[in-house]
Every structure is written in C-alpha cells, then in structure tokens.
Amino acid sequence: MSKQVKQLERVIIRFAGDSGDGMQLTGARFTAETAAFGNDLSTLPSFPAEIRAPAGTMAGVSSFQVHFADFDILTPGDSPDVLVAMNPAALRANRPDLRPGASVIVDTHDFTKRNLARAGYEQNPLEDGSLEDFNLHALDLTATTVEAVKDFGLSRKDAARAKNMFALGLLSWMYGRPTEPTIEFLSTTFAAKADLRDANITAFRAGWNFGETTEAFAVRYEVRPAAMAQGRYRNITGNLALAYGLIAAGRLSGLPVFLGAYPITPASDVLHELSKHKNFGVTTFQAEDEIAGVGAALGAAYGGHLGVTATSGPGIALKAETIGLAVMLELPLVICDIQRGGPSTGLPTKTEQADLLQAKFGRNGEAPLPIVAPRSPTDCFDAAIEAARIAVTYRTPVMLLSDGYLANGSEPWLLPDIDALPRIEPDFARTTNHTVQGKDGEDVQTFWPYQRDPQTLARPWAIPGTPGLEHRIGGLEKEDGSGDISYEPANHDLMVRTRAAKVARVAETIGRTYVDDPTGDARTLVVGWGSTYGPIGAGVRRVRREGIAVAQAHLRHLNPFPADLGEVLHRYDRVLVPEMNLGQLSMLLRAEFLIDAVGYHQVRGLPFRAEELADVIRELATTKETSP
C-alpha cells in the first residue's frame, strides 16, 4: 500500500519527554537527518536545570524543537505542527504552544492514574475530549518498542529506553528523512555494547516500519530541500561554533589559545570542546573559581597567548575586577558571556540577553571595553574571530555576548574558506621604543610600555622573555608613555580619556551599519542585537508580505557602535528595539543618540516568537505619524 504524500514548505516538530527519555538526543538525530536531507533548519533545545528532576513531573520535562523548510528560515518556529509527547507531563507542559489542527503523537504507556496525577491532570486528557482540536495519535510506543527488541535479552527497563529511537524512526518515516546517518550514529555510539546497539537500531527501524504499515498514519509529508548556496555545509550549535572560532582565532593570529574557565551553564560546552583540541596548541585550565579562570587567562595573555575565558552572567560578575585589571593593563583578552536568565542564579538553562549593561558598565571606574554579539549559532564562529581580532589589535579585553539560545540552538553552516579568513597580527614588541636623556645628557634607549600606536592607540605587547623590554605593569594608574605609577591629576584625566578613545577607535575597523530596507522607503526601523536576529527577521518578513515597509538593522558591535549608527537611526521616524531584557540596548541608543527608541521586551527565558514581533512591528509601522 502506497501512502499519500503531501508537500509542505516547512514543518515544526517538538519532541518532549521526561529528562531521562533521551529527547535531546532524539531531536539532535532528527536534526542531523534533516541537515543531511538538505532542508534549511533551526533548532531550540529546552531542558530543566535539574539533572534528573522527579520523574514524570512538569519540572522534569525536556524538549527539542526543530523547524525545517524548503526555504531559508530564521527561527526554530513559534508553534509546533507536531508534538511528540512521551508522558503526561510532556503533553501538559507543551499543549499551550499548540495551535488547533496540530498533530499530537502521544506515548500512552505512562498515562496511568499515578503519572497523570504527577503531571497535574485530574482526568486523562486522551479520554476526556480536551484534545479534540488536535490530530491525536495515541499509541503505546513503549510497549511496541519492548516487543520489537525482545530478542536482545535486555532488561525491561533498558528495552523501554529505546522508545525514543522508535519515535525517531516513526517521525523519520513521516517526513522522509534519510535513515543511514542515524544507523551509523547508533553503530558508533554503542560500538562496545552490541545488545544496546542492535536494540536501538531495531527500535529505530521498527518505528519507521510502524509508520509504513499501520493504518494510523495515512499520510507522509515531503519537505523538499531548500535552495541553498553552493558549498559544503554542516549543522552546528552556537557553542561549538564559538569554540571553533576561538581555535581559528588562535590559528589566524599564530597565538596559542589559553582558556581559563570554571564550569557554568550554558558555557561549559566551550570548555569541554576546547579541551578536546590540544593538538591545535590549545591549553584549557579548569580553575578553582570564575576569578581564577579569568586571572589565569590574563596571566597567559601577559605571556603572549590568546587568553580566553568563557562563562555566563554570574561568572562575569565575579570576573569584573580582573576584567578591570585587563582594561588597565591593556592586554588582549576574550571574555565569552553565554548569557542566561538572571539575576543571580536565575534561569540557568534558559536564554536572556540582560547582560549588555553588565558587559558595558559592570566594573569600577571608567573601564570601557569593546562588545561583540553573534546573531545566530553559526555567527558565533565569526564573532569569536572578530572579538579576538579586536582584542589583539587594540590590546584590550573584549566581551563576546552569546546566549543560551545561540549556545544550544543549531542551524546549517556553510563552511568558511579557512584561507580566506583575515589574519590577526599580534605584532609583539621586540625593541626599545623611546629615547631618554641619560645622566650625562646622552641618549639612552628604553622601553615605554604605554607608548601608543598613533593609529589604534594600542600599547606595545611586550611579553616576558623579550630581552631589553623588562618592565612593570599593574592596576595602579600609569603615567602616559612610561607606564610608571602616577597619581598626577592631569595624567589620570588623560589616561581615562585615552583608554576610552582607544575603544572608540575600534569603530574605524568595523564598517558601517548594514540596514536591510528592500523598498528603500521604510519609515520604521527595527534594531536588534544578538540572538533576536532570527525572530526579528522572521517578524519583519511577515509584515513586509503584508505590504508594509520596514527596515531592519542588527548590531554586531555594541561598543563602540558603528560610526554611522546615529545618522542611520535619525533617518527613520520610528525605531523599535525588541530585546530579551527590559530595554538595555534601547537605553544606550536613547542616551547616545537622543532618539525616541521604542522598546519591546520579554524575559520569559525563551526566544521571541516571530508572530508576536510581527504584531508589534505592524502596530508601530502603521501608526499614524506622530512626530512633530
């Protein structure tokens, strides 16, 4: 029996289950299959901060959403078209995100009185008609899986654990995903445990065959490959791309990478990843605390390495004093802040972009530093290189502001041509750079650690081991040029302004603001930064399809801003700034450019939905002229 095949442009699937149900793996495998198939895609993993929250509870629900399409997409999608719910809590937690008509595939195995109660259900939703708006497939996936793998002699518990592969097989059939990558993956992963390997592969195939044979599923769907630019691609998460960007920066600068870090969600993967690549000359130091992590990185930078630390907002708070020292020492340092919900411990596994003001101002004294923010998972690679370029060129700590959504989300990446990436020139000091008068009036060559490059205002980077350049630096104010301790009022004023001027000069190398304004007559500009790029772009597309002209600008450099940004902002009647905070960029734009930026803010620990942004953009863009 050949089943009906229905063409779709895009599909959003969410796999949801208990923390122990393997939903992240299932989602990642479906994503890998989808990438191999050639769709454009975007993913949104979501998991609790607890490693194993009580089984079957709402607190323990883990999910993975993947959006794939035959065209280029910008977000993981707003509402799932298909929800796979492995237990009652997963159904209850995700049901509010569903629209009528969505497909819901439920493993009925855990819909017992006890588990329903754990999830907070008073009645069984599969029986009380509350799901009648949806296309419900209620199946005992667990029992079917156990039956399918019964020949492998696994315990009932181990056999049941393969149910995620059964679900993956079913969904893979439904959307015509290639199966080879997953079979190969399972073969490699369980190479040492033949029974588990065979059981998982069998469960995966059984899921596929179940879709093929059962009457329950009458339709298969086809989402054609997206038209993507020619080239070699892979799927990649933001944290992985960021780690690769740091390794690439090491190569491009010829500097060994030294990461000093303390484990923290959602930044630990950067530490894990870099620690695997010692053959790239990468040293990783798991420090005793956040302060030591950045301290060691600064020490390594002093020694001529590319010093890096990676953390999240709470870690930045702890590192603040050392970052201030790096500002004073004027040494290159890359500080990665993978932002999460705050304040305090906040929402460790959820995303937010509320560290912008901490990044810019979170130190004592006037302590400016450049800030760079990637806008998508793949952009983390380029942003890391850009942060390193600025750090090394200008001898300054640079803040790289990623977030939990970028860190764990993934998308296809057109692999860059390594040879075409820009070189970073460390330009270590080798010789003396100043002449002073000796006792007898003779010229004496000496080294002045704070004698600046007239173009960049960067000071020389003279590393220990360089003969004749022995010098002392420290956190006390320096005399301009000589670097000797100075408490002289005019000198301090000069040095404070010079450090600020140096950071401001970074604007000379970051290009102009890119504004996407296809019709050229938009009166409304939407400005964002960081991970909101996708949702803002998707929202802008929606209102443009309605014939409303809207311009979009997305800032990669938050400090300094591009030199023309003020002029760009003033060209528009209305400037909308959506942010996953309470208005941090809009505060900076209002303060710096005296524009009446309109903020739109949400701090739900989740990325914006394209639909809600479209509503906000439409409303502002179609407001009657209010300017005087």
């Binding site: 000359g281 040293t283 420090a287 020490g299 002093y302 020694g303 010098h471 002392r472 301790i485």
Partner: protein, 362 residues
C-alpha cells in the same frame, strides 16, 4: 627532558626536574644593580620589606637566568609593590589573585621563572582560595608570603594571621578571630615545598630562596616581616642575638634542637604529634631528626604546630617540607605536546567540517 633516577611511581610520565629547568641561562649572571629598577622604593622607613628586597636583588643574579625570563607577579598590599623595584618583568595585579594569574603565566610559558609576592591578607584572606589551589596543583611558582600579621596598606586592621585578642582599628575590643598558621595551611593544601624564614636573617632568607627556586612545583616561603608602623616588634623574639629559645631551626637530616646550648629539643609525642622537651630528659637518639623529604606530611604538620598562635615567642624556622610531585604546568604542556605528537598538528578545515558535512551542488 631530564629525569631523576628514583621516585614514586605515579603512573605518570616522569617530570621531576629542577625548578628552573627550561628557563634560559644568561651568558653573564648580571649584577644586583642590573636587577634593580629605577623606581624609588616607597615603603615606610624600617619596613622589613627593604631587607627582603635587598636579599632578593642580591640573590637573583645567582640564579644565572636571563633577566627577561624572570617574572614577578604580586597582589595588593605593601609587599605587593615589590615587582616595581626589580628590573625584571613584573605585574602588580589585584588583591589576592596573583597565584591565579601566575598559574596562567607559568602554564603558558615553561621558559619563565615565575615568582609571586604576597602578604598575609592578600594570600590568606582575600586570595585564600587561589593560594590553596596553586599549592595542590603544584604549579611551578615560588611564592613569597610576607607575613607581618597586620594589614599595613589599609592602615592597621587585624589580618588572618593576627593573634586572637589583637586590638586594632577594626577590633577596638580585641580580635575574636582565630588566626591561620600559614605553614599548617600550606601543608594541608598538599604543598610540596613549605618553608619559613625571617626578614632580618639575610643568610637564612637567601638560603631558603635558593632552595625554593630550585624546587620544581609550588614553593611557599613564609617570611616573618616586621611592620614598624602598625605591628612593630611582632617578631622581636626572632631577631637580634637572643633567639636561641625562640627559633626552632629545621635542618633536613638534623635532630631538631634549640635553646641555650641545645637544651631544648623536639621529640615525637604519644598520639602522633611532636613536643618540646629538655634534651637532658631524653637520650640524644630520641630527638626527632627532621626529614623534609618524608612522603607523609604529618610530622611536618606537627612541627608547624609548635608555632605560637598568640604573640609569637617560639616558632620553627627552615624548610618544613620539600617533596617531588609532577607539576601542573609541566603536565598541561605535556598533554598539548602529546596530543600534537599522537594526532598531528590540528587541521582547522577538517575540524570545523566535522563528520556529518554535506555538499550542496551548484
């Protein structure tokens, strides 16, 4: 790599080497003057720091290292101004963090001799965490801990080594904190080299520095250092001519004996510790023979407890412990070189492509 013949089998590559292995030697050792910077020294008159500075300036040429390969990293406090006065590389960092910064530097650069200068507040209060972790990791650093038992730079508050009951600006009714014994702390933190010396005894100080520099791993040297302004006389028992009953000299391989004409000595006490006895009451063979190289740190710890916790009248001076253990920085560098040897130098294009890349044709 040079290796020694004997050692504990840790199942690890043999990395026991002299503390200065890998640091380039100078063709000409240089002079004290060459190691002295042009900066005016700004400690209070009579400060013990002067004596330590003079000893270090005089001692550094003896190491025979290239001056540019020596780096001093300090924290915050009076003693932390030290790097400014040496014409080597130097960093005057922030409060308590010098061991962390120096750990990064020493790990990144095996060709440097890295020294940390710190004080009792810097190392044991605000920077306590970094100190103990540097010690347990055994990073190749020499840490000079200037202990004056007071906060000097902030003008006279009690410190974590001040005796209980100390009346200071912040403790008008007397401090209610129990003090740290830095040597005990370091031994508890798995330190491989722990010594104590006195600012005014240049010969002893220099001798300890020499052995600390030669030690591969973290060497902690506590220096009793007088603050003439805020804690004058704290170490008077250890100065001048009449120190026989105060200083308990620790010399490896020698019986621990002190007092007038060696009238006092240290013996093992029932229960595992040590105690002071009149030597006349015991046989010569009963005195504890100091073994700085003992694997077990218990006796060294017991000796450290002979230090007065209150006002100091009596304390052991010398090297409490000096044992060999692979250093963090050597092992970290070796992992990098092992990875390079076994996997080859990484290829970036291969790395970033991963295993699941696909091609979109034109």
């Amino acid at each position: 790599m040079t290796t020694l013949d004997e050692g504990t089998d840790l199942g690890m590559p043999e990395l026991r080497r002299d503390g200065l292995f890998g640091v380039p030697a100078a063709p000409d050792p240089g002079t004290r003057k060459e190691f002295t910077s042009d900066q005016e020294v700004r400690w209070c008159p009579g400060c013990g720091d002067y004596a330590v500075l003079a000893a270090v300036q005089g001692f550094l040429p003896e190491l025979g290292l290239k001056r540019e390969n020596i780096t001093f990293v300090s924290g915050i406090g009076c003693s932390s101004r030290f790097p400014y006065y040496l014409d080597t590389f130097g960093m005057h960092s922030i409060h308590g963090r010098a061991p962390a910064i120096a750990t990064g530097l020493a790990t990144a650069r095996g060709d440097l001799s890295v020294w940390v200068v710190t004080g009792d507040g810097d190392a044991l209060s605000i920077g306590g965490n970094h100190l103990i972790h540097a010690l347990r990791r055994n990073v190749n650093l020499t840490i000079l801990l200037f202990n004056n038992r007071i906060y000097g730079l902030t003008k006279g508050q009690y410190s974590p080594t001040s005796e209980t009951g100390k009346v200071t600006k912040s403790t008008p009714m007397g401090s209610i904190d129990a003090p740290f014994n830095p040597v005990s702390l370091a031994l508890g933190a798995e330190a491989t080299f722990v010594a104590r010396t006195v600012d005014s005894d240049r010969a002893h100080l220099t001798s300890v520095l020499r052995q600390a520099a030669a030690h591969r791993g973290t060497a902690l040297v506590e220096i009793f250092q007088n603050c003439p302004i805020f804690n004058d006389g704290a170490f008077d028992s250890f100065k001048g001519r009449d120190t026989e009953g105060s200083i308990i000299p620790l010399v490896h391989g020698q019986p621990v004996r002190f007092g007038a004409d060696g009238s006092l000595g240290v013996v093992r006490a029932p229960g595992g510790g040590v105690r002071i006895v009149e030597t006349s009451s015991v046989g010569d063979g009963d005195l504890l023979v100091h073994d700085a190289h003992a694997d077990d740190a218990s006796t060294a710890f017991a000796l450290s407890r002979l230090t007065d916790a209150g006002h100091l009248h009596q304390a052991p001076i010398g090297i409490f412990r000096q044992v060999e253990r692979p250093t963090y920085d050597d092992l970290a560098r070796q992992q990098v070189s092992t990875a390079r040897e076994s996997l080859g130098d990484g290829d970036l294009a291969t790395l970033i492509a991963g295993k699941d890349a696909w091609t979109v044709p034109a």
